[in-house]
């Protein structure tokens, strides 16, 4: 069988972010995969050194549009540790609330995208419609749907009123009903199980060796969650479960994310019930004293780590960001070993890649080799859907069920 290399050029799975994968095939089996990253490299770490701390709060937020609160909180936590600021409890609870709302919107987004990748577009439309409930709540509290800007060094910028609390409870109740229905579909419908099971296998040991984090790691049985192991904000005082699963495949990752949605609703209810009174911020100095700090945050995709070093001036000396997708990307080659080409879109989408967190840069690979072919992501996706349709995976029945329910 000759080797064919398919460079899958820059149209990324869900978020239309460019990423380049060179896949070596033998017939239809994948024998090798190199991931060419460096996509959204905008030079943020260098830019942080040239801007003041206050400007950096807003810059780190824009590392990624989906986990923007994760990045800005991790940064602010590190700076507050260096400056030895003791932020008020109310601020910690509000940060937790926004963090969990962000987790909900990210997981619902992922669910829709996974549905889109396997050809189940109805799920995309339904989950993104439900996601609008969360976006409304966020816009109500923070003033923007994305890139909330709620953090400031020393606390949060805006407060929550009792009317907001009522609306949030209502929104969470609707979302919980809908999530339970999605869990029902995902775990009972044979078509979905057939499409997602045994795809993208990553054994427990491999996940440990390659350093997988977040739901990708937890679906392989790795019991790691920064919210419980290294508590920050208000998580030390809240009661929640860490969801792990033993399936080690894409189905497991779906189950973990759905379980985390339910836990998030639980956490939000606790936060709102126990929201302490008090101020929402303390005054922070402009010049942060010399020092260093490491801060970790459980972003929806996994553990996000920021390291900040200060030198006594208004601008940081060094800011280092390690986003979760970077740790998870190295597992993709392992997951795709000996698998069919048709599985590629869903496997990559299953780690919930966020390339802008990761590289913060792009390249299109063209090959002059006669035997190689360039496939755009959408072509690959269509290929995957048809391949499975020929083998009996058809979503029309579930589509009808979903539509009848609503």
């Amino acid at each position: 069988m000759h080797k064919v290399i398919i460079p899958i050029g820059p149209q990324h799975p869900a978020l239309k972010e460019p990423a380049s994968f060179r896949v070596a095939l033998s017939g239809e089996k994948i024998t090798g995969l190199t991931v060419r990253l460096g996509y959204n490299h905008r030079g943020i770490e260098k830019a942080c050194e040239e801007r003041t701390y206050i400007q950096d709060v807003y810059l780190t937020e824009r590392i990624c549009g989906i986990c923007s609160h994760a990045h800005s909180s991790a940064f602010v936590q590190a700076v507050e540790e260096i400056a030895a600021l003791d932020i008020p409890k109310r601020a910690k609870y509000i940060r937790t609330l926004i963090g969990e709302l962000e987790r909900i919107h990210s997981h619902l987004l992922w669910l829709g995208v996974a549905g889109h990748e396997i050809g189940f577009d109805t799920l995309l439309m339904y989950t993104w419609r439900d996601r609008e409930i969360v976006m409304d709540i966020l816009a109500m509290i923070t003033g923007n749907r994305v890139n909330y800007g709620i953090n400031c060094i020393g606390g949060v910028r805006r407060d929550i009123t009792p009317e907001y609390i009522k609306d949030i409870f209502r929104g969470v109740k609707t979302l919980e009903e809908r999530t339970n229905y999605y869990i029902d579909i995902a775990t009972k419908e044979t078509t979905i199980i057939k499409r997602l099971s045994k795809v993208g296998m990553l054994s427990h040991d491999d996940a440990l060796k390659l350093g997988a984090v977040g739901p990708t790691g937890r679906a392989s049985g790795i019991d790691r969650d920064t919210r419980r192991d290294d508590p920050y904000a208000a998580y030390g005082e809240l009661d929640f479960k860490v969801i792990t699963d033993d399936h080690c495949d894409v189905f497991g990752r779906t189950v973990v994310r759905l379980g985390e949605l339910l836990e998030s609703y639980k956490i939000i209810r606790q936060v709102l019930k126990e929201l302490p009174e008090g101020p929402i911020a303390v005054k922070a100095p402009r010049k942060i004293p010399a020092g260093e700090a490491v801060s970790r945050y459980e972003a929806p995709r996994g553990e996000n780590m920021h390291y900040v070093k200060s030198n006594g001036s208004e601008k940081p000396e060094r800011v280092k960001v390690r986003a979760p997708t970077l740790a998870n990307l190295q597992t993709v080659s392992k997951m795709l070993e000996d698998r069919q080409l048709a599985d590629l879109p869903i496997v990559i989408a299953a780690i919930d890649p966020c390339f802008s967190c990761t590289d913060r840069l792009i390249s299109i690979k063209e090959s002059n080799d006669k035997r190689s072919k360039i496939m755009k992501w959408d072509e690959l996706r269509e290929y995957g859907i048809h391949w499975y349709q020929h083998r009996g995976v058809d979503f029309t029945k579930i589509n009808n069920k979903l539509k009848r329910r609503y």
């Binding site: 060419r36 260098k46 350093g211 790691r224 970790r296 390291y307």
Partner: protein, 147 residues
């Protein structure tokens, strides 16, 4: 928990005296010469249960380039192991033998700080584009854009 670990490290490696501190709970910072790096690193990962590597931070500190290896345990304790090499000859040995996932962090050090990591397998550079000039290291303090 951290103080116990600190005592352990100090007991095993007396040259660490005054170079180890616990800034707060779950955070230990230690500074060592590169010559002693391997033994302290191996001890931390094999005997003290630091089973996970978060990342490797590279810093340009004037005459020397420093590296901080951020290791964690299952219970969330982070050991920040700092070492450094001279800037005129920045050479490191790879740690992918211990953590396969360290490859990408080391490539980042090569690309952005101009460090040579010995032992890395053949592979694409990260994160800079292929046509970025070879001797430009953006994260060095003396590097200015439009250079």
């Amino acid at each position: 928990m951290e103080t116990k670990m600190m005592q352990d490290l100090l007991g095993r490696f007396p040259y660490l005296n005054e170079k180890v501190r616990a800034q707060r709970d779950r955070r230990i910072y230690a500074e060592i010469d590169y010559a002693n790096f391997v033994e302290v690193f191996e001890y931390a990962i094999q005997k003290l249960n630091f089973t996970f590597l978060c990342t490797i931070t590279g810093l340009d500190e004037g005459e020397r380039i420093s590296f901080i290896y951020h290791l964690t345990t299952q219970d969330g304790i982070i050991l920040n192991l700092k070492t450094s090499v001279p800037k005129e000859k920045p050479v490191l040995k790879t740690i992918i033998g211990y953590f396969r996932g360290a490859e990408i962090y080391e490539r980042e050090l090569e690309d952005l700080l101009g460090v040579k990591v010995e032992g890395l397998p053949e592979g694409k550079r990260y994160p800079l584009p292929d046509d970025w000039p070879k001797d430009q290291y953006p994260l060095r303090k003396d590097w200015k854009p439009n250079a």
